[in-house]
């Protein structure tokens, strides 16, 4: 083999015998690819849902904490994503379960289906009482226990088909998310001033029951906050 020119190098690379190289069975590639896609979506869902928190009609409670960049999802995150996707596939009226990024990892929230307050207008009275919220939440959890204990990765596909594919957060959304962080600080200050308890986040990897309890406490917090007259005028998402 003699390599002096570009053509000789090209010929050597194309024509020199290679060892017997074997690829993985395509079925196994696809199986691993699905797992990888699920892991990626676990991270993407955190960003996606952060955009949805204020974007869906009647967005509900806000959580404290920094938004997380897209990173590979842990098994726990995947579990949350699958579980949340399963919940929403049950189409419980008036409730949307979402995962939002928290200070210590993703967390589940339930967004009540209520009118979104308008900028500059007094916060409307909640259309659901505390008991209503609790009852709906309880129904959701019952559905989760009955229907979603063995959530399948395909359910995540369904959620993504409904909400779209978001794997990166555009700069405009990052700016919006930063403004949301500022808003949350004011919102939480109002809640505290009116004696509304802001629930503490469970640590990363906490049992799913703790995540559910946290979500319930958030629903209560939002409801009490609206009753207390705390303004709920979050910045408008850039994609709205």
């Amino acid at each position: 083999m003699r390599i002096s020119t570009e053509d000789e190098l090209r010929a050597a690379l194309h024509e020199s015998p290679a060892p017997d190289l074997r690829g993985l069975a395509v079925g196994e590639v696809m199986r691993r690819g699905r797992r990888r896609r699920l892991a990626r979506r676990g991270a993407a869902a955190s960003a996606l849902v952060a955009l949805l928190v204020l974007g869906v009609a009647g967005a509900g409670a806000l959580t404290g904490g920094q938004h997380r960049s897209a990173v590979p999802a842990s098994d726990h995150e995947q579990q949350l994503v699958a579980w949340t996707a399963c919940l929403n596939s049950q189409e419980v009226p008036g409730v949307l379960a979402v995962i939002v990024p928290g200070n210590h990892g993703p967390e589940v929230q339930f967004l009540g289906d209520r009118p979104a307050p308008q900028v500059g207008q007094p916060a409307p009275r909640p259309t659901l009482s505390d008991d209503d919220v609790r009852r709906i939440a309880a129904n959701v959890w019952q559905a989760a226990l009955e229907q979603c204990t063995a959530a399948e990765p395909g359910l995540v596909d369904e959620v993504q088909a409904r909400w779209g594919d978001v794997t990166t957060v555009p700069a405009a959304n990052k700016r919006w998310m930063a403004s949301v962080d500022h808003y949350k600080a004011d919102y939480h200050a109002c809640l505290r001033a009116h004696g509304v308890v802001i629930p503490a986040e469970p640590p990363t990897g906490a049992p799913i029951e703790d995540q559910k309890a946290y979500a319930e406490q958030h629903v209560v917090m939002y409801t009490q906050g609206v009753k207390a007259g705390c303004p709920y005028n979050p910045p408008t998402a850039p994609n709205e």
Partner: protein, 180 residues
């Protein structure tokens, strides 16, 4: 309103079509990707791992890349994944090949492939990337620059330097032994 079961059925149907297309893509692209990976790594086992990882990554985003140019995505993934694996280079080398098979043809082929693999392994990682992209994967200088995120001038100078090093290497005994 479309029901949940309808959406699931539709999603399943689209997934099946996507899987068939991906299978066809693998059949067409895998041989070239494997050879490119072997040229980059100089090792059959690591090349196979690299291509497997590349195809898994490609499948994970198949719904997004299949309508565009999945081969281009896989090619870029291969190059970038190779960069990653250089950082966590494994010390053991896997082999499924018995080294003492008889037969002059086999020996000749092993020698030939050892020569090109050994020559490439003497290059710096960036040089090897550019050589493989330019002269095996037949990318233009500009396309190579775009895929690696470097300037056109860097591609030209690095390719020229790599070729010079390959010429010089032929006159210098391999100190480390030829990788397989």
């Amino acid at each position: 309103m479309v029901g949940t079961s309808d959406r699931r059925a539709k999603a399943a149907g689209m997934a099946q079509i996507g899987d068939e297309a991906f299978t066809a893509f693998v059949s067409a692209a895998e041989p070239r990707l494997l050879r490119a990976a072997w040229l980059l790594t100089g090792d059959a086992g690591r090349a196979e791992e690299l291509v497997q990882d590349t195809l898994v990554r490609t499948y994970a985003v198949w719904h997004r890349v299949s309508a565009r140019d999945p081969y281009a995505y896989a090619r870029r993934t291969l190059i970038n994944a190779r960069t990653d694996s250089w950082r966590r280079r494994r010390k053991e080398r896997l082999t499924g090949e018995v080294p003492d098979r008889p037969g002059p043809d086999h020996v000749e082929r092993v020698v030939q492939r050892s020569e090109i693999a050994a020559a490439l392994q003497r290059l710096r990682p960036r040089e090897r990337q550019i050589v493989v992209l330019r002269y095996y994967l037949d990318r233009s200088e500009q396309e190579t620059a775009d895929e690696l995120g470097i300037s056109l001038g860097t591609v030209k100078s690095t390719a020229s330097r790599a070729l010079a090093r390959l010429r010089a290497a032929q006159d210098t005994p391999d100190q480390e032994g030829a990788p397989r």
